[in-house]
Symmetry: D4
Subunit: 248 residues, 8 copies
């Protein structure tokens, strides 16, 4: 409600066209009305610049199929579906042309888009059990138009494996580091690299790993500058953020 | 010795201005300047391309003065000192020309460098008590050559204050969001912005805020993509990462 | 025996329609209907003025059927049964006329009562996975005589969806806000509304959501005044309290 | 500018006493009174219909004095200042006419307003050490126009003290129950009352009370319907919510 | 071999019925009956004066049968087996004459012994879902020679149900109070009784009950003197301790 | 309200002497009215059989002096005051004849009463830093008429010190075991003794002792039967309960 | 990169053979290049002196078979596979000659090696349910060439069982103490022994054992010197470290 | 009580010299009497082979002086006193010849003993703020006769500093790794070394370091074999264990 509209409203109050009670109601809502959200809504692709993503965990196969069909009907070419169980994947694959990446539990609709990112994204993991999360990150980044290098099973307890790949670390524009038992990985990689490192704690592990909490705390306490952390197991979020930085 | 200085040294080697032996000596000296209580990693300027930072919390005023003098003797022009108590600041200010930012407990040696960042960094906070942390982030980013906008006291419980500044949010290249009681701030800002948001939980608050833990968890669970989190109260880390992204 | 029924009984005593001895017998019987495994507190209708509720989680289908039959034998018209699994629902439905709301795992005996609440109750949720809890709240409130508006899937990371419904928020007499990943929802709604907001953390989510604990802490730290919190997943409690406030 | 004042302003517009331009100016000024360190949300009186409150914990005496003067310059008659230490209170009292309630660390500007609440608010506490929090709740409610009954030191371990005051419990329209060691208080009061009970965990206690966490959990698990919880030590929030319910 | 049996053995030594060599052999054998997977501490009957108990949770049906047969071969008349699943119970019941209490998952070998306790033990519970734990406590106490009164489903949120049984509370020599959602029960009972109250948190409940932790904390913070706490779900420990106190 | 009174009330309703509204109010309170609490209140000494205790932590010296004078005016001979700081003790000692036990921060008014307990109470501690808590327990028990043996600094890491005192352990009727770093003490003592053991975690210790939490958990998990736990540092509670058991 | 190589590089810079940019890149990697990792990698057996181990938890039977075949093809004679489920064991046993220790879920390829350790390793456990973890430790140590004594089911609540085996404790060169409910075991054994004690918390137990956390904390707080702790359930790690110490 | 003594006891029972009750008491204590602890007590130095240590934290300067004098009177030449504040150190130094190491808060009586350890102990730390703990470890080890190398301020975020000292790591017989913010240090060192690594979490740090808990969890989850953990800040325990291993 800009100044003109308030002026008009008050004229109407003065003339009796609008009751005082109605005017009070209108004024109460004013602070939130002038930001054109309808436009933003229809331009969401513009505002955030990404293909669509469906969070598959809480949805049935039929719901996912419905959403995919709706999206493709609106000419969406690239859709990614995260956290799709193998069982659901079979059902979905029957109805829509989905490429299913089993390890990452990740569904891909449409081909990988052209590379639009400015540099390379490196995804590093501590152990084989961290692969589902790191693959989710890698596929997400690829679906968003990035070139992704994978450097898997290079935990800090066997440091030379990591140091053998210094080139990959030095050449990356953004790094995603996923680890469950070895939260230390983020510190070490962060200390070696001079680019942003996105740490993803994973919930694998046993004993005092507490479902990823220990890795999370370890990563947050990293003394290496340039490291930030996303939620436990949030491979998608890491890949998304990496892509965002790589497109700046 | 930062990257520019190494470049210059190599140019001098190439042109014959500096002998190879002298250059080797300079490079060898670079990584460490051992002055007893800590190895100063002056190689780091090269490896990571940034001015020096001194973490002031665990050091005495005399130790800080010693490190600053050592650094300036090595032609370091810009030094920032974090977590300097007002008492220490007085002592340090007697010996070296430090500008002291009291609210952020932040010491600045040398003028702010020229702006080298590619866009603007926005620092947003939920309440006045989050200011020390957000100012640490803002000053860090400025010391690293960034233009910083400040948007303070715009908590989500009075949403219109935040919405009044949509332009600042839309124009930022990176956003730092610091909050203690209102972890929600990161979610809301992350939903409005289309750039990376670095969330900093702060330890202010009472009751079930648990020294920043609640804000930390709230920020990690943010459903908005593009949000990552640094350690509680780590304004420096947030400013540093923001600068890194802004220089990519 | 609710307050109206006691009033009616006393009127009958006054008018002589019912003898004092019979009235005493009725009142004495009221507090407990001991049927072995639990004392049914039918006095509670009087003391707290509401229809009966059965907490279904720890009870077998046969126990629930027994309690329902006992209650209906005592002329209880409206009974709600919470946390009924679909399997139990089939068994119960065979023996007593229960309407089963599958999403909310909620059993309804008798029709919805007439609307007796003074205003409207709004139930808001952050995501589709919060629906079971929010529906439990909504159905509970409806069973207690309230008009309920539902505003689902309006998380703060897409703020415009929420702001599009400012009218609903402004018109509500009480709001229930249920969210698991987006504890921020309670803060934002609390900041927009000028009526009591009852926040319900839900246990959905992954990673550092810790079974609803993160949402709980986030909601407790809400800076918006007028917000209070009930137990994780306690949709019934929220609906009950909302109704209580709406009937004051 | 509260709702009554806006109503009055619009009446003046209607009658021609105040020009439309002047009214627009008044309304535009209302939302923010920027005085440097914080944006005072004076629009909030309108939006939420209450006098102003200043959260004193993170502010200096001078900042508080400045805000109070600004507010009174804008004709705010009733101001409450929470969490004011006795030291600050002396300084503030020198400059502005503040009544200081020491136990609650609560500053009051202006007389208590006329009673506008529809019923009585009862504030119950478990022990003498819970008094600061319960008094903050009681004074907040009184500043917001409510009649408040106090029922102090009636812990559940001496149940008869509580039961001796059944009348107060039965007559209340809203109850605030504050306790640190005896989280059980909320359950018991909630079971006795048939009105909303707002539970406030307090941080007093020792051993496994963990700064109010135990009381918080105990209150959240209360089986009594109608009970909700605010943040640990948040007496203001409880009093505010109680007033809100009492004015519905 | 319990204290009575040792007494009898020594009487036989004194009278010459049993030779000293034989007595030494009996006593030497007593402490351990090694049967492979566990050393059965039959000396313990002497040292602590009670019948045998087998913790069934980590043992197979066959192991339990073996231990029971070994014990009965050594003239143990009363054996209790805790935490026996219904499946195991069927297998065990085929081989040894066990009475199985399904609700408490409790196996009883031999009849209940004569009452030897000096007073009555009262077992109180908050809700029907606490029954397995409270029954384990009650059966344990009965197997140890105590008269046990049960007062079930008398939670504090419906206080009158508890107050209706003041006599039972006043007459008890020891009280066991088991509750999961209503940790408050221990406080209230402890305030009413003038005998030791043993509180048992149970792991039933949902949301912020955290597997009994909330009840545990609530019980530890009880302000009522005379209350102590055993481990979550440890009905056996509570019954055992109650019996110990009742036999002093 | 017994049957006669309800009969009378209904007669009054019938006759019009009492309005229906008033009758409903009277009936609502009925369940809680028939337990004669006023009597219980004045007979508290009778019901719980102990001298008076003042919890000194949250009270000023003057408040304590006032309470003591009031109590002695009512002929109370034995009063104990817990958690009295040395500073307060000086003030109190000026006004009333208090014996102050500095280590336990415990004030004693009147001589120790005659021994009325049936057996001996043993207080065991792990280290010298646990003495304040164990002395509070010991003095409390002595003030309540018990003979108390002290066995201090007998931690399990030097087991022979404990085993040297087997006689004391075997002769006790109740044992209090207080420990901060050595929660194991309760297990070991519980395994040796055949009497109730009351474990008191203390908050002394460093590192992962977490203010007594580790000791608390260790004690709760004790496999020795007959062990129960009171709140961290609650020496008074332990001494009180020990006395209660020793007087049964 | 040693001094000679840097000299050569600078010569190349001077001569123009190497560009300045390339030289900067080479210099950036220098600090990590001079440690001969390739050698370490191929000599890993030498550096750490142990047979191979496969962590079986996150791998399929086929993956394990593949790794085993690869290793044996390289003449590895002794392989241990930890955390192999019985199902996987059947599949693996079909393809490679594995001895499967069911209780420890431990696969053994090749015979036990000759004893190379200098002394005896003692493995002590608190209860039968700790056996899987302690057997994993014992078998690991045996596979690494150690003589292992087992002392099982000797919890501190029946202290004489432990004391009966003082000789074993006194003769050990290293002790592994595994316990879930009885974290006290590590303290007691540590107090008796004069050799290093490696404590392993196990996740067995119920109630407040919290998946081994309570045992972990109890062990960390052990006052006995010479005790250190490994991760919950990490029998392999304990056996490995015990062997390492026994081979020093 | 060996077989002969039991035989004698039973003879006395038979002859009437000893009553049956007395015999039962004697037999009850038997399991614990035959281990000659008095001898062990006087031979404690023998059993554990170390000089004396005084834990200074909970003791007054006078108490410490008294203990030192007592010990030296018994010809103890080497005494170490841990956790001595500078204030106490002044008082103690006035009375006994103590060398005070301020950084480690460590008092030394007598000269360092001759080196008796078989190899070298390396103490590694992550940052300058970890020095007090690592120095406590180093001095403890030196007082116990070990050669100690110190490698300070070599955190993993600047990995080359650590790698520059590979020789020290490779040459150590035992390593102590102390870190607060960089729990990763233990993993990295453990992966490089082939000797036991004792990790000490320190309580320095801020934010989500939670008083050393994060470092503790990170260290426990270390994937490097050969790493075990002692309590937070327990430098003494680490030094003691390192010495024990170095003397095996």
């Amino acid at each position: 409600m800009d100044q003109k509209e308030v002026y008009h409203l008050l004229e109407q109050v003065k003339s009796g066209e609008v009751s005082i009670d109605q005017a009070i109601l209108d004024l109460k809502e004013a602070p939130y009305q002038d930001i054109g959200y309808a436009k933003i809504d229809t331009h969401r692709g513009l505002r955030q610049g990404i293909p669509e993503v469906i969070y598959g965990a809480g949805k049935t196969a039929d719901q996912i199929i419905g959403i995919v069909k709706e999206m493709t009907a609106h000419h969406q070419k690239h859709i990614m579906i995260t956290r799709v169980s193998p069982e659901k994947a079979v059902h979905i694959g029957d109805k829509v042309p989905m490429i299913y990446h089993k390890l990452a539990r990740f569904g891909q609709i449409g081909e990988m888009p052209e590379k639009s990112g400015k540099g390379r994204i490196l995804v590093v993991t501590g152990g084989t059990s961290d692969l589902p999360v790191s693959e989710e990150a890698a596929l997400t980044a690829e679906m968003l138009g990035n070139t992704v290098d994978r450097l898997y099973d290079v935990g800090v307890s066997g440091l030379h494996r990591l140091l053998d790949h210094l080139d990959s670390i030095m050449n990356a524009r953004v790094i995603v580091a996923a680890a469950g038992m070895e939260g230390a990985l983020a510190s070490v990689v962060g200390g070696l690299a001079d680019c942003p490192v996105i740490a993803v704690p994973t919930s694998v592990g046993y004993g005092a790993s507490f479902g990823g909490l220990s890795a999370l705390l370890s990563m947050l306490n990293s003394c290496a500058s340039g490291v930030s952390v996303v939620n436990i197991d949030n491979g998608f979020g890491a890949g998304y953020l990496a892509s965002m930085i790589n497109h700046i």
